[in-house]
Amino acid sequence: MFDNFPLWPASASTQSLPVDLLYIFLIVISAVATFGIAAAILIFGMKYRRRHGREAQPIEGSLILEIAWSIIPLGIFMVVFVWGAVLYFDLRTPPRDSTEIYVVGKQWMWKLQHIEGMREINQLHVPVDKDIKLIMTSQDVIHSFFVPAFRIKQDVLPGRYTTLWFRATTPGTYHLFCSQYCGTMHSGMIGDVYVMNATDYQAWVTGSAPVGSLAQDGYTLFQQLGCNTCHNMEVQGRGPNLRGVYGNPVQLEDGRIVTADDNYIRESILSPAAKVVSGFKPIMPSWQGQVNEEQLNSLVAYIKSLNPPPVGAAGTSTNTPGSAAEPRD
């Protein structure tokens, strides 16, 4: 019976329970407030119902009551605010050693690229009890990656990366939705997330037999597009040496210092003139419209792989700012 009439979503990530607890807390205080107000209205309505011979008593108001019913709700709200903010910071901060998966949203499907090279459409296989970080972009309009069982959601934007992370706790199959209206088949842009235990997941990886890793795809593309003619990884070419750049601060020609994160690398491929590295000339052509989102992801994955191991760590731990990868003039 309740299979066909669910009143609560499945819980399958480390974030499900904390979100549920806050939600329940909110339901309780809301129910107390709503029933309190409703009861007051009904009781006052009955007790002070218009009768012959009884007149309303004029009451101006009460400063003490006004202060009380301003301060008390505000106090409760502040508790909820802090509680919700703590959860949100957790939801928005992927652990450092997360496994990265690239996501491309397009009208009307989800494309997923694993670092190991597996590619999926509208299906996402992940191992249980592992931190997964999704690096997402859209090929066209705004989409939104929503897995109710994990209590996570993030809009997927054209032109930049947004991220999302989760750690699944229970093997099973869960709904994946697009929750940002994206046109005709918005409600068809759905899929399934398969949470698998370690052995099943290994079997799936082996069974899908990826030809090469995402970074290897990126390397091949890097050669094909001729990027290596300027970005030489051994000696300094016309463009910066990209080894060890990812995750580190970069000194720009205009004096700013930015961190070379996923969005920076993406922008440097599509709009190279936007942030020119100090000591270099703005001679690189734009690749806007010449590489698709999935190819971009592989290029980003390749450039990340040029960092000293551990590959995939999004931190700045191994390199000091202004290290050998930084060009000087």
Partner: protein, 546 residues
Amino acid sequence: MATTAVSVEKKNYINAEYGIRSWLFTTDHKRIALLYIISITAMFFIGGFFALLIRLELLTPAGDLLTADMYNKAFSMHGQIMVFFFLVPSIPATLGNFLIPMMVGAKDLAFPRINLLSWYIYIAAAALYLWCLASGGVDTGWTFYTPFSSQFSNTHVVEAALAIFIAGFSSILTGLNFVVTVHRMRAPGMTWSRLPLFVWSHYATSIIMLLGTPVIAITLVLVALERTLNLGIFDPTRGGDPVLFQHLFWFYSHPAVYIMILPSMAVISEIVPCFSRKRVFGYNFVAMSSIAIAAIGFLVWAHHMFVAGISVYAALVFSFLTFLVAVPSAIKVFNWTATMYKGSVSFSTPMLYAMGFIGLFTIGGLTGVFLGTLGVDVHVHDTYFVIAHFHYVMVGGAVLGFLGGMHFWWPKISGRMYPESWGRLAAIIVFIGFNLTFFPQFILGYVGMPRRYWDYSHMPEWQALNVLSTAGASILAVGYLLPMVYLLWSLRYGKPAPDNPWQATGLEWRTASPPPTFNFDEIPEVTWEAYEYEKMPLPEEVTLER
């Protein structure tokens, strides 16, 4: 006492002149209010028709009644019509227009011809919108998010955007007229602290209309220009930013929520004291909370964007401010409730709507707190939880306030009494139908049903709650149609209304029902405070049908 006022053939604003020209060229705020009542009611039923299509489609999981594109157009046009052509003008342009000059003791608004102009602008906008609808409609959702609206939709986005752009001027002019009227046209002795709370709330609304509407207007022009001239402001491939649109859109559209709810609060602040026979509890706090809502309401827009890709620190600030804006709303609810304490309460039709409003607005407001809570919003954002929340505010709040106000002032507007028992029945039907329609959607939302889904055949487990919702919507429709019928019926067959059937305190009740063209035979001089119900007699029971 006041029955002499309806004696034969007294001239009033309705029978002052005859003929269609006397209506189309009138500058009488009361006649313009009637023109608005007719126009926005027509738009309400068109918007309601699209709601009907949405609920019928969702009765079954498969997308079987409409095509996907038709469904997308249905919810888009439902939202755009209801927000921009019904809710925004609803109470201000009808009851506000009719009552504000009378409440401050003036003969008309400050700029009567601008008032008529604002109705013509509204009609021009509505005509353009209906033409857009007839030529195929628009499928962007009411929110026009880029780059879908600017580059990808193949529907009539430019026409719809221009129609809403034009409607904005109607709103701006109405707001301007109210602000100037309240400042400059008050009768002798009508100090700010003697203003009815209806006027205070409309004053706050007018400020938002004046300051907010230009922003949505220019934003929609940018979308139209991007489509026609290919500008690239919101196009990321040319350095534009689609999220910029959301900032601009919500900078107006969140305060717009207060444009819709503050006038309803205005109505409730009049009804509750009248049917409790008491001065409103904490007059200053209710008045100032309207101003606080208008002011803080301008600073919370990005709480619609917690998952849109804004920084965590921006989200933190907007969440905090959202909790702050909830406080003045709470103050109002507590004060209205306290007004009933030791009163002499009668459950007349307007009071039933007011009590329904307080309950439903409380739920709408508190679920807004859920959405302002960062960690919870991530899960419920863009789901049916949001749909349920804003319908509790906009239907449970704004529409119930509109219906309550229409009943309360109907004797003044029409000079006729409506049948009280039918009125009470309709109020109860609206309350039940509304809750049955929208409460299940809170559950659906937390379970995970995203908004704007046409087909849910892969999630048949959502059907039961959707069936409840559709059943509720059909009850709600009856609740809307009933007042249409008996209010029109009362125009011919209703009992003639006395000048002050409820023995209420406002200046509008000290003139005839319906009022003469210039409202008062002589400009009143106010020597009393607002809501002095202790000095008013109880209303004659003859007005309450047994």
